[in-house]
Symmetry: D2
Subunit: 334 residues, 4 copies
């Protein structure tokens, strides 16, 4: 079977695991007070050219919720986003369970439409309604699209104008960067808080939360512990992310996945449904084809239509070119 | 420096890391639906001789809170425990943040006094007060003590009589088992839910939650995701715990730490303050000695007294005997 | 000024206040354990012909949230409703603050479209999404519409099929009953929990929550206290609701408001925008007219359009016919 | 039967109810935007000689929790108080349900011992523990004691030194004022937020929350609505409190209850157990006496001892002197 089901189907890349082996006899201070965590912070500060604070958390959902919990201090404060957002659809109500409402704003595909935000914001006029306080977006989006830097700048401008904190879910930020022309430094200049996903790119676990806005740095470790995200062996994540970010290794990993996805997009042009540029490829096949290829390829069914289905093919840092070529052939010929 | 500061100061044991390397090219289904997770469940079922459900979480606090969240359905339901409990002192109010009150009951050292529970329970007589619904204990306790099996049986009997669910925090359960005469199977027969700590015994991260009571199995994965504990690469934890539990490897690791602690207890008898049997050793030294040894040994100051202090020495799965002997010498002679 | 702004603009009806005076020298047990509360329960049981439990709360929002808190035990459980619902728009995020997500389903006007519910429900397929557990509707709706009894029966049938509890927000239930052909008894047979609003119909405060489903009766007073709704002088609300429900007094009050609204609807036919039958009348006037009448009539602007606006006129139990006639004249002639 | 069970056993005083009758034909704006609410604010500002904000809530528990919710913004922030506090014992875990931990500090009777606060505060040293942020006390206390003004000044000084907000639960503040030599103005100068209880002194419902500290005024109406405390007919409470506070009427009511309690204390000196000065009298009687008097007097059993019991006698604004004299006779002679 060729596995194109998702990008979190292997333990992690050899370089990352080797790094763990390398430090396996060393002793470290617990709870993120260690030297490796400090080293990671320095590295991220040099990459972003900002005095950011950094924390490694165990996964995307916990990073979204704890990040937003730091932003939304009062229970009447809400987060604006699009309806397809991960926090809305695929986190089992975690944001509401933490006490906050999601407000929907207009989308273009999986992206926030900048032109709709202010109208959305203005609907909340008095104390019988929630108060919008955060703007949440994913880059890449749930549909694999990437915001241009100009789009991000515009969103940030609007957010600041409306006194909203801008949070970027970066579960696939490396893939977004690898398929665009901007950098971590750019990202850090267009938001208040973001994270760099590792779990979907060769780490056994780990998302790197980066706090840019000074106001959001205050007492973050309290909320991190209170909301269940503080890892006692913080140094493990730090060691992994040091390697991940060093020498653009994360971009190397991401670029490979993009390259493999591009190959799919090119060769399966006729089936493509969403125009995106990262490591998720959405194609529409008739039901017969879907059935046939499922004997050889593992993938996810995204949406069932009448006689056809949209399926999602995901490439990873370690997807083999021969597998991609085989998959293309199977899809075309079955 | 000799590091006796805690038992979570290294990435993990070689055998565990090797296991990760071994499977690093394999592909797995995400979110704990994989074969390794099933294998782990079978292993734990055979060890406990019960049809338990099993989940790997990232750390102790999150396991305590999510476990108790599954037990305490209503916001007026409360958990009974002793004042020194981890959930009361060292979790930054996570249990209250999840909406529940802690009720204190009488302690003997760090243990729950079984004779006090019913009186505690009976104080809650009407709907102006919370309703006790869970009994929480740590084994080993915060002070390194181990409950006897008879004590646990008695606590379970009382819990059932009072309609309380018994939850055992097992952050150091392997160490408790290694220093006592009972097993995982025994533990599974005296409680409704417990966990086996890996983080403090050679895993990069990971606590294995075991749900014994059928009522508590229902929809557990919903609460696991909602309360931020579901790991996308569930197979990583499963692979580690399969190795950890196989061939009593976890007991081997724990036994070594106990042996090293016993050496400390024996040789430092005159300074001992708490009579315990696991891998934490509490000694009282005059301030002068504390100052002197701190140049050579890393440890934690537990309590400052007037002219002296209680310090905590913790041994680990990989503590070297020569380091222990050196530490003993330094303490005695400084 | 003629006040048609809302139906909660006076302290309360003379009969209700007289009832308070009448009992002002009597002594009662606190916290709803008194004879008047028992008497009220008997009265509601006879009116509904069911062994319901009854509680008086202070207002609509607190009744919605506490009622739903009793239904939604787990933080991953969600409530299905339409987007215009009071709990979604006008409760400052109280439902999310209590930990639960709102799911939107298709609406027809302000009503739930029964044909959309199952499709909505079926979107929630696994533990990465919330679990629908309640269906919430208002009768009369936010737009003043009234469900037919057949519609309610159908909704209840669907709810039971899908294992959802049906909750009816009855802030204006008396007005719905007064403008339809069914009764409290009918309502009690088509839902699991509902309430009868008093605040919007001549009570200084008070909503009567009626629990029909036995499962939802368990420990209700604990959640009532925990969620801040237990009133120490429960007998005050009970005395008021005994009078309110006795001899169909509440229907008399409601009927008058409907009659006045019908007069408005009839005479202002040409301006009407929503076809409803209760005590809220929505009319569209050009901006000039809106400005002119605002010197003589107090009303609420519902929606600003370009050259016109939709305004809401609300009649109450004590709205005077002469005021209504004057208002009609003013609107027509200005 | 002579009712000395509590001070919330009647609907309310004639003057208060008459005030409601008086305004029963007037129309008001909803949700506390009315003229009577503004009038009340002016009155309280003149009584306190401070630019306070004021809100009427429905009862003590909801006022405690919403007040503290405004103070405790982060889930890791905690409130320091004594173990006998109402928020700890008699609110069904509402404070924890709202997400916050209670920290106990040393008590003298039902009062906070000022000498213990700093030591309590200093135990919370890092982000593994909660962060104390509020100090909560009741005046009068649960045991009917009254803080001296000097005691309050000292507590406020300590609170400010430790960066804690001081909240005064004033469910029986009028009774405290009536039995001491200080005023509302004094109270407003020694805390950040307090309330004046009406429910226990002749109002059908109502506590008047007074926000002194500017920081705590921000967006209060949002939290009031979100946490279920906003009453649509805010003018009802305002009308009642205007009368309550006008011409020291509340002190007149309170003074009568104190006078009646003093009579009990004087005549039952030999049985007194707690030395207090307000309208609660605690006496110890042998079981035989308790049984005998229970045929003639309604009271609450406070604590069961072996052969005796502590019972509580409570006087109210409308307790009759002849009833008190009869009760004394019955207690002495039975």
């Amino acid at each position: 079977m060729i596995n194109l089901k998702n990008d979190y189907n292997t333990i992690g890349s050899k370089e990352i695991l080797d790094e763990l082996i390398k430090y396996s006899n060393d002793k470290f201070v617990g709870y993120g007070e260690d030297t490796k965590t400090k080293e990671l912070n320095s590295l991220v500060r040099s990459l972003t050219e900002k005095e950011v604070d950094t924390y490694v958390l165990s996964g995307g959902t916990i990073t979204n919720i704890i990040g937003l919990s730091q932003i939304l201090k009062n229970p009447y404060e809400a987060v604006i986003t699009v309806e397809t957002s991960h926090i809305n659809v695929h986190e089992t109500g975690a944001i509401e369970s933490s006490g906050h409402k999601i407000i929907f704003t207009k989308a273009i595909g999986g992206k926030i439409d900048p032109n709709g935000i202010e109208a959305t914001y203005n609907k909340f006029t008095d104390n019988h309604m929630v108060m919008p306080k955060a703007l949440y977006l994913s880059n890449a989006t749930e549909l694999g699209e990437v915001y241009t830097l100009d789009e991000l700048k515009e969103l940030y401008r609007i957010a600041k104008k409306l006194n909203l904190y801008l949070f970027i879910d970066g579960a696939r930020l490396p893939q977004a960067l690898a398929s665009s022309k901007y950098t971590l430094k750019d990202i850090a200049s267009v938001c208040d808080m973001f994270y760099v996903g590792g779990t979907k790119l060769g780490l056994p676990y780990g998302e790197l939360l980066v706090i840019v806005n000074d106001e959001l740095k205050v007492n973050f470790k309290y909320i991190l512990k209170n909301k269940l995200g503080l890892l006692s062996k913080g140094f493990v994540g730090a060691i992994m992310f040091n390697r991940f970010l060093r020498d653009d290794y994360y971009l190397t990993l991401a670029s490979h996945s993009i390259e493999m996805a591009n190959l799919l997009r090119e060769e399966l042009k006729e089936y493509l449904v969403y125009p995106n540029t990262t490591n998720q490829v959405f194609i529409k096949l008739d039901n017969n084809k879907v059935n046939n290829i499922s004997k050889y390829i593992e993938f996810e069914v995204w949406e069932l239509l009448n006689d056809s289905a949209i399926i999602r093919l995901v490439t990873a840092y370690n997807t083999k070119k021969e597998d991609v070529l085989d998959a293309i052939k199977i899809i075309k010929e079955s």
